[in-house]
Amino acid sequence: MLAFLFKRIALLAFTMLAVSLLVFLAFEFTPGQVARKVLGPFATQDQVDRLTEELGLNRPVIERYFDWLTNTLQGDLGFSTLYKQPVNDIIWDRLGNTLLLAGVAFAVIVPLSIILGIAAGMKEGSILDRSISVSSIVTTSVPEFASGVFLATIFVIWLGILPGTAPLDAGAGWPIWQQLILPVMVMVLYDLGYVVRMVRASMVEVMTRPYIRTAILKGLSFRDVILKHALRNAMIAPFTVILLQINYLITGVVVVEAVFAYPGFGRMLLEAALSQDVATVEAAALFAVFVSVSTQIAGDLGYMMLNPRIRFS
């Protein structure tokens, strides 16, 4: 188990390194553009060359990559040209906001998807199963910006009971918890169906096992069969899937945050990308990859602990 953990962490380090090189190369292979961007289109080529030299951008790309890597490892994420402050001063606030949104959404998605998935999976092909399955296919097929539009039409324009934006300041006249409702609803709608289908598939599979038939035949009530026998085993496979949702909820929320003007990590990444703010995009991309790979490791580990029959080597 420890060996497995070390192997995965080594792989994580390798992936992060490769990703950092990839991202660095993508943005900084042609350094002349950086000086050109700083000085504007009316600067002479001479001025551009001089700034390039001053910034040390005429050195070989590998040398610059190692400089950048050292700085990043020491916690210096560079200077954001968009927000005019060090990336470190913005990224943590933005992450905190996104964690709040992700946390609330996760707290809704997990119990709801388990209940719906189990209800659908206990009798395969029943009307309940078909309606839950088909509606989860439909809800996951609605793009987030479209469900944002639909929900805003109902709750903001028609009923007028929720705010259409979530800037997280109380000055807008809406308390923060009310601002969170619509973004969370959009995330839940988009993500829920996928998890429901995974829980359902696992439940359907468990319900065909002999020990469930035995439990039914020995006269146990259906309720006890589900709660005491099926549930535990049915939750092993979807566990990883549920953990992987953290990845979507933290790094995939760009659209939701853009729809509701939410000051989070995803919108920061988008704004930085739209204004070619390389330092911020690099930091955000590295962080996103870190979250995605470490949730995978956590998923594998949890799966091992839940399922004693499986041991990875």
Partner: protein
């Protein structure tokens, strides 16, 4: 496989689809939009980029503009009709390109194994470790927003996923007797991969391709909505929502109709995929 074979296969699938009501609804939605896209010049009442200043006085739906006009006085119905062309051209091209590359890499990784597999797998791992939306943003930021670059971005995101699926199936299929027989006949590795293995992997791949068309439609819409899609003024559904979303509280129809259009197409692809999966489980 000959061309007739492909058509016969497709026809067979469509005939079988009759048994799945959900799949039929999906097929209807997708065919509806394909029809709209093909006959766009005949159905669209106006030029999608023509600004009608009269419509700006009251842009809500009327006898002149059935679905209303947008903030530049352009007819929304015409823009939705022409926008279906954008998405139904870009999405299939992107998915086909990703499939060609993904199938080749997956077949090679699964068939040769060893270092070829290692290299392809590592590269796929690295690309898969990016959340899709982050990869989309980085690729478009680097290459600039255009139809070709949207296709490139989809290829970057989808290819490693397809590679994984094809590799897994190849690992299983390469042990079959007919592969051993082909090897004994002295067929080339390329022949075995493309003629013996790939056609036998088609079932799950067709379902995946259909789902992927849906995801890609979402991706194109999302990129348009984020301002990373096709440059204006040509209509794309995501971009239409982006341009009018700020006016939602006054004129919700400007965002609602394009949002409904993209939703119906993606739901169509997903239901169609579900219907096909159901049928493939049966036989």
């Amino acid at each position: 496989m000959s061309n007739d074979g492909v058509i016969a296969l497709a026809w067979n699938r469509i005939r079988l689809l009759k048994e799945s009501p959900v799949g039929m609804v999906g097929a209807f939605l997708v065919l509806f939009w394909i029809f709209v896209a093909i006959f766009a010049p005949l159905i669209a009442p106006y030029d999608p980029n023509a600004n009608n200043m009269d419509a700006l006085i009251d842009p809500t739906p009327s006898a002149v503009n059935w679905l209303g006009a947008d903030n530049s006085g352009r007819d929304i119905l015409s823009r939705i009709i022409w926008g279906s062309r954008t998405v139904l051209i870009v999405a299939p091209i992107a998915v086909i390109c990703a499939y060609i590359i993904g199938c080749l890499l997956g077949l090679m990784a699964g068939y040769y194994r060893g270092w070829v597999d290692q290299v392809i797998n590592r590269i796929a791992d690295i690309l898969l470790s990016f959340p899709a939306i982050v990869l989309y943003i980085i690729v478009i930021m680097k290459l600039g927003p255009s139809a070709i670059n949207v296709i490139m971005a989809v290829i970057f995101v989808a290819t490693p996923q397809i590679t994984r699926i094809v590799r897994g199936m190849t690992l299983e299929l390469r042990e079959r007797d007919y592969v051993a027989a082909a090897k004994m006949r002295g067929e080339t590795a390329l022949y075995i991969m493309l003629v013996e293995i790939l056609p036998n992997a088609r079932g799950p791949l067709i379902v995946d391709a259909c789902l992927r068309l849906g995801y890609t439609t979402i991706a194109i819409g999302v990129l348009g909505f984020l301002g990373l899609g096709l440059p204006p003024p040509d209509p794309d559904w995501g971009g239409m929502v982006k341009e009018t979303y700020a006016m939602m509280t006054i004129y919700p129809h400007m965002s609602l109709f394009p949002a409904a259009a993209i939703t119906s197409l993606v739901v169509g692809f997903s239901l169609l995929a579900d219907g096909m999966r159901e049928i493939s489980l049966r036989d």
